[in-house]
Structures are given as C-alpha cells and as structure tokens.
C-alpha cells in the first residue's frame, strides 16, 4: 500500500513538473514582451494591442549578430550605447548568438526567417551571403529610399554598394571592412635572412624557397577548418586573374577551365609545399602564433589577425611584425564586410531604419570600428580615430580595386562555399590539380 501511494506521489510530482515546464516558456515570453515596451504603461494587455503598440514610435529594435568575441562585442555595445543616447525612447535588444564563427547564429537566423519571425535587423556579409540567399528568397526590403533620404549613395565606394545590391536595388548598410589579402610576417626572421617583402607571385615563391633553405618554416597555415586554405587559394586566384576577371569568375562569365585558374591551382600547390607540417591540427590563431614566436616566417590571414598579434601576443606593429598585401594583389583589396539590412515582415521598419542610420553614420562607424579592429565602410570617416594599421588600410581601401572574398561568403553562396571548402581540403592532401579543376567545374555547373 505504501509503495503504491509512493509511486502515485512520484507520478503526481512528474505531472506537476511537466505542467510547470510548459508554463515556464509562456512566462518568459510574457516578460520578454513587457521588456520590449517598458515605456508603455498601457493597462490593457491583449496581445493584439501589444503588437500594435510596439510598431509605433518608441518601440524596440532587436539586433541579431554573432559578435560575442572580445573586441567585436565591445564595438557592438558601444554602438548600442550611441544609439540609445540618440533615441532614448527606443529599447534595444542585443540578440547575439555565440559560437562557430557565426555558424550557430546563421542556423538560428535561418530558423527564425523560415518561421516568419525575423529579427529587426541582422548581421550578414555583403555579397552572395546576402544576395543569393535572403534577397533571392524575397525576404529583404530594398533600401534605395533609405540611401537617398540620408544621402548615402556617395558615402560608400561604388563597388561596395554593388556588393550589397541585386538587380539595381540596395539591400543592406555596410558597417565595417576587413581585408582578406594580407600577409603578416615576423620582422626579425625576414631581417635575419635578408628578405624583402615580395610583391609578385614569382617573387613570393622565390622567398618561400629561400626561407625553406635557411631552415625556417616559410608559411604558417592552420587549416583545421578548411577556409584558411580556401583563403590562400582565393588570393592566388585574384593574383592570376586580376580583379575584373576574378569577379567575372564568380559571375560565371569566366569558366573554371580557364588557363589562369589552372595556373592558380598549380601556384597554390607550390605554396602548399612550404607550409608547416602540423597545419591540420592548428586553427588560424595557432598559425599566427608560429609567426609571432619566429618559428614560421609569415602567414596569410584577414586583418582581424592584426588584433591577435597586438592584443593577444602583445607584439608591436611594424616593429615585431609587419604586413604586406598578398603577393600579386598589391593593387587589390579582398573585401569582407559586415552589413545590416531590413527583413520583410518586421513590425516597425521606421524604428529599424533609425538604427541603420546610426550604424551607417560617420559617428556610428567611428565608434564601432576602432574597437572591433576593422576599418569603416564609409569613405569620409575620421582617420585620426584609427591606429597605424587602420589608417594604412583605409588609404588602400580607397585606392584599390575591391574584390569579394570567396572564403567569407561574399563571392558565392554558402552552399557553393561549403563544397569548395571540401574540395580544397582534399586538394591540400592529394594535390591533384586535374581532379581539383574538374571538381571546381562540376560545382560551378551545379549552381
């Protein structure tokens, strides 16, 4: 009898727990929506009216990103502070999703977009990641009027506006620029071996050979995740094709059977002969560390690595480590840009545009970028706010040909990129040029 009633009690507790769990979600939802409109002191709280209220002025804006790392989070928070200062009546919700270099955030975003519950605005790389996915799926509002209203058309480089446009309509506002075709090198190692910064691919290969003979690992690579190798390949492609044909390659106007693509694959293969042996066990930070410690001479990485060299490894720019454009691409700038757009079906588009306006303003960009370690997307930002590397890069940005990065989703869609990453991963080990070219053609044909 006792046993039976104990079992009954247990079941009863289970049931209660189940009910309580179900109720939990509702409660959090409730608090969320009250948080959203703390200013509104409406007595009536039927859900329809709640929605209607938050769509008016003084509503809320939810900013979706994957900026949770050290410098980038500081930048985002400073930007939010600036916005709240200007619009104290609008509540800001920072909906950043951590992990996987944006992979987790993108998965969450995809679910929300497909469930017709878009965030007010979200981080997306300019180029294919925006145009071939969300714009192609008809989920984004064009921002042409916004650009005209705030007179932004000539505040960004034309090539950059092209990257966030599809069929003549503009779909997002760029906030920052990173450069992908940068080589970072250890100054002491270069000096000891009497090496000058190479400017062409042939000089580069010579330098690699010299360093190798001197017993130094010439190039550090960390391709535990394949994109770092893809990044080297895209820079070699840019070098052999030049910026115009490089863009044409991704537009499908130049084929992968082009001789210069083969040349790039062969050069890539040569370069791979000079990388550290344990490349597959390292990520890009571990590879940069090899350069910082002088065990390897140089590494190719986007300029977020600059922050790693100066902040994490505590090295001094142009004293301990130097930088130069990837050989053969000195006149070019491989662009990685974070942008924010306006999804369709957002309740309060005008409030979101207020945020985009702050984000696109000189003040907004000069608040965000020095902290994030990137340069502003606007051409009229204040160079005195940036360090030596920043001002150098800002100058290059205005004087170079801009090219969209493949490894960061700007040149081609994410699906395409995952497949190319797979082929690059295979190529790094097998180094079979014919098979690589054949596979690249096959992938290009599928899409």
């Amino acid at each position: 009898m006792l046993k039976k009633s104990l079992a009954f009690l247990f079941m009863f507790i289970l049931m209660i727990a189940l009910v309580a769990c179900g109720g939990d979600e509702e409660t959090t939802d409730d608090t969320d929506s009250t948080d959203d409109q703390t200013e509104d002191t409406s007595d009536d709280a039927t859900s329809e009216e709640e929605e209607a209220e938050s769509s008016g002025d003084g509503g809320s804006v939810e900013i979706f990103s994957w900026w949770t790392g050290a410098g980038e989070e500081d930048g985002l928070l400073a930007l939010i502070d600036l916005f709240e200062e200007k619009h104290p009546d609008i509540a800001v919700e920072n909906a950043a999703v951590a992990g996987g270099a944006g992979t987790n955030a993108k998965a969450v975003l995809a679910t929300r977009m497909q469930g017709d519950d878009p965030p007010s605005t979200f981080q997306v790389h300019g180029g294919a990641e925006l145009n071939e996915s969300w714009v192609a799926a008809d989920k984004m509002e064009p921002l042409n009027d916004f650009y005209e209203e705030y007179d932004l058309m000539d505040k960004f480089p034309e090539e950059l506006i092209d990257m966030v446009s599809k069929d003549g309509d503009i779909y997002s506002v760029p906030v920052n620029i990173h450069r992908g075709n940068v080589m970072f090198y250890n100054k002491a190692v270069f000096e000891e071996n009497g090496i000058e910064e190479p400017t062409t691919l042939d000089e580069f290969v010579d330098v690699l050979g010299q360093l190798d003979e001197a017993g130094v690992t010439p190039l550090a690579m960390g391709d535990k995740e394949a994109w770092t190798a893809t990044q080297i390949f895209e820079n070699v492609l840019l070098a052999t094709l030049g910026p115009d044909d490089y863009r044409a390659l991704w537009a499908g106007e130049v084929g992968f059977d082009d001789d210069r693509v083969r040349e790039a694959a062969e050069k890539f293969q040569t370069i791979l002969g000079y990388v550290n042996e344990d490349h597959a066990s390292r990520n890009w930070q571990d590879a940069s560390q090899l350069v910082g410690e002088g065990e390897a001479a140089m590494t190719n990485m986007g300029d977020w690595a600059k922050g790693y060299f100066s902040n994490d490894l505590d090295l001094e720019t142009n004293v301990d480590f130097g930088y130069f454009a990837f050989p053969g691409t000195t006149e070019d700038f491989m662009v990685i840009t974070d942008t924010f757009g306006l999804p369709k079906g957002v309740e309060n588009p005008d409030t979101v545009k207020e945020f985009l306006n702050v984000l696109g303003s000189v003040e907004g960009q000069d608040t965000f970028n020095p902290l994030k370690g990137s340069i502003p997307a606007r051409v009229d930002a204040d160079p005195s706010k940036y360090d030596e590397y920043g001002t150098d890069t800002m100058e290059d940005f205005q004087n170079s040909n801009l090219a969209p990065s493949l490894a960061h989703g700007s040149a081609a869609s994410e699906g395409y990129l995952t497949k190319i990453n797979q082929e690059v991963n295979i190529f790094v080990t097998q180094q079979d040029v014919d098979q690589f070219i054949e596979k690249l053609q096959q992938i290009a044909g599928e899409l």
């Binding site: 992979t103 987790n104 995809a110 799926a137 344990d278 066990s281 699906g415 991963n425 295979i426 790094v428």
Partner: protein
C-alpha cells in the same frame, strides 16, 4: 477484457509522455525522412519530391564515402578495445577483492567528463608538435597522430582509398580512454553476480583457473558483452562531439564522420535535404544494431 481502474490510471499517466514522444521523436523522424526525399537544398524550403536523389548523391560523394569508411573502422576498433580492456581490467579487479571499489571508481571517472572535454584534452596530448611527442622524441619516434593522412592497407574503392585511416587511431584512443570504465563497471557487476559455488564446483571437478574463466565465467558474461556492444555501437555510430572538439574533419577527411558532415552541410551549406538524408542513414545504421537487440530482449522477457 475489462479494463481495471489501475490500468486506466496507468494509461492516463502514460498518455502525456506518450503523446510528446509521438510528436517530438517519431513525428520529427518522419519529418526528417520526408525532408530527405525533397529538393530542399537552399535556404528556402522546397518540399517538391526528389525521390532518392539526395541518397544517390551521398553514396557517390567522396566525403560521405570517407565518412562511412571512418565509421566502420572507428566502430570496430572502439568496441573491440572497450570490451577487451574492460573485461581484462574487471578480471584483474576480481582477483583483488580488497581495493575493488577504489579502482572501479578510478577507472569509471573519465565517464563523468563530457566528450567535448575529452576531445580538447586529447587534442593537446596528441598534438604532433606539443603533446606526447615531446616525450616520445627521446626514443626518436614522432607519430603524426590525428594529422596523419595515411591509410593503412589501403586500396582504391569507388572514389576513396579504403583502409584504416591512421589518424582515426588517435580518436579511438581518446574514446576508449573515456568509455572503458563503463564496460569495466558492467563486467565487474557481472562477475560479482556469478555465485562463488559455481567456481567451487568447477574447482572440485579439477578445472584450472584458466579453464574456469574460459568455460564457466566468460559464457555467463555473454549477455553483458551484448549490452556493452549495443551501447558502444550506438555511441560510435552517432559520434559527433568528440570529433568536432578534437580534430574536426581532418585533412582529406581522415577523421570525418557522418555526424560532422550532417552538421556542416545542413547549417553551413544550407543543404537541408542532404543533411536529412545523412541523418536517416545514421538512424538506419544504429537500427541495424538496436532492432535485433530489442527483439531478442523481448523474447527473453516473455
């Protein structure tokens, strides 16, 4: 047959969890199966019927073929070592009755860690330039562990080289280190369950200790071995976290497994239908082990 009050109550209490299971487990398995037969390979859902297109693509895909090869060798090595080491240690513990509990706990402890922790730790230990190799270089050997791209006893099969990927051995070491304690605990429990009288009887009949183990004890442990195989098989076929934390896909996909491929192709590449097809194939692989076991244990029960 009349339903008694007790039975009615039981049904009433079972109903909520039953309903939730039907929807959130079996319902979504069905949904995944349906997605795997669709054309949904972009961000925008496209549920038009594609037949077996996604499956045909996968079985012709270099990466998936490599995944299947890796899974086969990982499963065999992992289960094999977990059983041999677990049983061996359990028998040793069985000999020394005194410190039995202490050692059992020491060996069981790694199981308390998550695979992610194990993965990160072993990634450092087996890193070719920092870990064990610092010690091993005294003897002049420098194994490349999980960065090794060689395939042992390889031969060309479809588009891949079929054989034992050397890099997988490093992953097996980490997995075995974590799970051996579990099989050890199972075997220790099994050994204590064998009545001392049986051994006595065998001894009186003149059997040597070795014979007692071979002819009496091991056969009595068969059900335990079965359970260990089933549990380890479903862990190894679904393995994701250990690989993801420790090695990633590896150069030339030498340490890639279907779980990692499924995650990347679905959430990085937006190939939802392909990802769903991988999930269904994984489910079928696990079912190959589980279903006969379930049928068997049902027969035993009735």
């Amino acid at each position: 047959m009349k339903i008694t009050r007790d039975q009615l109550m039981a049904l009433l209490f079972l109903a909520p969890s039953f309903l939730l299971l039907i929807i959130f487990v079996y319902g979504f398995i069905g949904w995944t199966g349906w997605v795997s037969l669709s054309n949904w390979n972009t961000l925008v859902p496209d549920m038009s019927f594609a037949g077996l297109k996604n499956y045909i693509y996968l079985f012709g895909d270099y990466r998936f073929q490599a995944d299947l090869r890796n899974t086969v060798f990982f499963t065999i090595l992992f289960i094999g070592f977990v059983i041999i080491l677990g049983l061996g240690l359990a028998i040793l513990l069985d000999q020394t009755k005194k410190a039995n509990a202490l050692f059992r706990n020491i060996f069981l402890f790694p199981m308390a860690l998550s695979f992610v922790v194990t993965g990160v730790v072993w990634q450092w230990l087996l890193n070719p330039s920092t870990g064990f190799n610092q010690f091993l270089q005294v003897f002049g050997i420098q194994p490349k562990w999980y960065t090794d791209t060689n395939i042992l006893a390889g031969f060309q099969w479809e588009s891949i080289e079929f054989g034992l990927p050397v890099a997988m051995i490093a992953v097996v070491i980490a997995a075995v280190w974590q799970m051996t304690g579990f099989s050890l605990a199972m075997y220790v429990a099994g050994l204590t369950g064998i009545p001392e009288e049986l051994r006595e009887a065998a001894r009186i009949d003149g059997a040597s200790e070795l014979q007692i183990y071979r002819k009496v004890i091991l056969p009595m442990l068969t059900p335990i071995t079965m359970s260990v195989v089933i549990i380890m098989a479903h862990i190894s076929l679904k393995i994701f976290d250990l690989i993801y934390a420790m090695t990633g896909s590896g150069a030339n996909f030498v340490t890639d497994v279907p779980g990692v491929y499924m995650f990347e192709t679905t959430f990085r590449g937006n190939y939802y239908a392909n990802g769903a097809a991988i999930a269904i194939i994984m489910l079928l692989l696990v079912a190959v082990f589980i279903v006969p076991y379930l049928i068997n244990s049902r027969r035993g029960a009735s």
